[in-house]
Symmetry: C2
Subunit: 293 residues, 2 copies
Amino acid sequence: MSAGEAGPVAIMAGSGQLPVLLSDSLRREGRDYRMLAFRGFAAPETRERADQVVDLLDLQRMTRILDEWRPSAVTFVGAVGRPRPSAFLNTIAALRNRRELAPLMAKGDDSLLRSAVAFFEERGYLVVGAHELAPELLAAPGLLTRAAPGGMESRAIEIGFATLADLAPRDMGQACVVTGERILAIEGPEGTDSMLSRVRSFRRPWSRVRVDAGGVLVKTAKRGQDLRVDLPAIGPRTIVNARRAGLSGIAIGSGATLVLGQERTIATADRLGLFVVAVAPRRDARADAEEGP
Amino acid sequence: MSAGEAGPVAIMAGSGQLPVLLSDSLRREGRDYRMLAFRGFAAPETRERADQVVDLLDLQRMTRILDEWRPSAVTFVGAVGRPRPSAFLNTIAALRNRRELAPLMAKGDDSLLRSAVAFFEERGYLVVGAHELAPELLAAPGLLTRAAPGGMESRAIEIGFATLADLAPRDMGQACVVTGERILAIEGPEGTDSMLSRVRSFRRPWSRVRVDAGGVLVKTAKRGQDLRVDLPAIGPRTIVNARRAGLSGIAIGSGATLVLGQERTIATADRLGLFVVAVAPRRDARADAEEGP
């Protein structure tokens, strides 16, 4: 998708490294951008680069800023989740947006951002995903590490992707952990790192759970997931946490999962002996049947 | 199923209240029983009633005891999970069973017990489930509490059962938590109480997860699950933990979920304002199609 070249790209920046990585990428490409950071979410490096820091709930000010920037495209990057107290410091902002906010606040994480996307689209902005502006942030299909999955692990990867495909219609399950043919965990709103620490706890000597050695983290976008809102990602921390959980590797959906700081992520995996493989998941017959043509 | 009346029932007792509840029930019915408790798993009340206390891994001694008791039926009740160190105190027992044990130990929780069932069946014992010996321990369909599910909660219950049915072919998901149309958690080997404490953590003010109020714990046997090995159960503790997790009620599969200490469980739910409903889950078209005729 072309985002047009007339105005700058407006980066609406939440937490994590992605806002900085995306702005680096745009800079390398020679594209003009402006960055709006969400107070209470954006990391310090992000706030340093930001042209504006705004309360997440201050839709009026956001609209005013965008009207001024006249961006060719708007992109939301980095998680915002549930607003932290600091996001409410300027409660006046929240109060003066009460009417617009009520329907947004009634929903869950993804819905909140989906509503925000709809809100800005209705006002005539082109909302695009980070992966459309910087496709090199997505993993290309193939093995990324020196270590490679064995037979058992390939079977686990297959089961993992099939399970996530089964759950996608229910808007659940961006990731799971599978060892052999056994599913150890399915990710809920707690996120990948929490899920991995759950699996880690199964390995403790005093755990009542018996778990085979090894295992694979499988992570990909839910089928039909709006990637403009919540692009699954892995990074060096994911590798370290997977290792701590006793896993032997990670499989991600190519074209649907960001690898943050790709070089460092792969180097970390190589150092710890984990494999990382990007798979173009074959379409699941069952889910397809339900989706229809 | 009739378990025959010739010999006593042999209760092979793991952890929890179920061994004691079952022996109470058999006593009320005037049926003869013997109890073998697994060291390191059986609760003190269970061990008090037990005729024998045996290492989980000492298959030879178990076989010798059963040969002596000549039971009309053998039943495994209460979880055993991963053997605790105390189960290994008598390591000689483990050593002298090495040949039989190796293939059992290589598997997961359920497989371990399934293998044990197969082991004793091959030796000519009739292995039955606790629910076959004491059907009154299962919940009859219907509303068990004063509180009842509302419209949103009925929808959540429907989604919960459908999700568990989807996952059953993968031997995953005996329980899940759903609020509105959103799945908050799917139970893995960590068990129901751990899953509920995860949901509880979502409600903390500093949690990054945004979760609607209420929600329902849905728990039932996996389709095709061997109920002789792992019969899902709820009890007073489940009610308390569900309340702590901010849920408004519990839905269980009737005929496939034990209610331990039914009177106290229901009284606890009534006191805390939770509903408990036992549902005969309607068969899921998708799962049926896959199962075949």
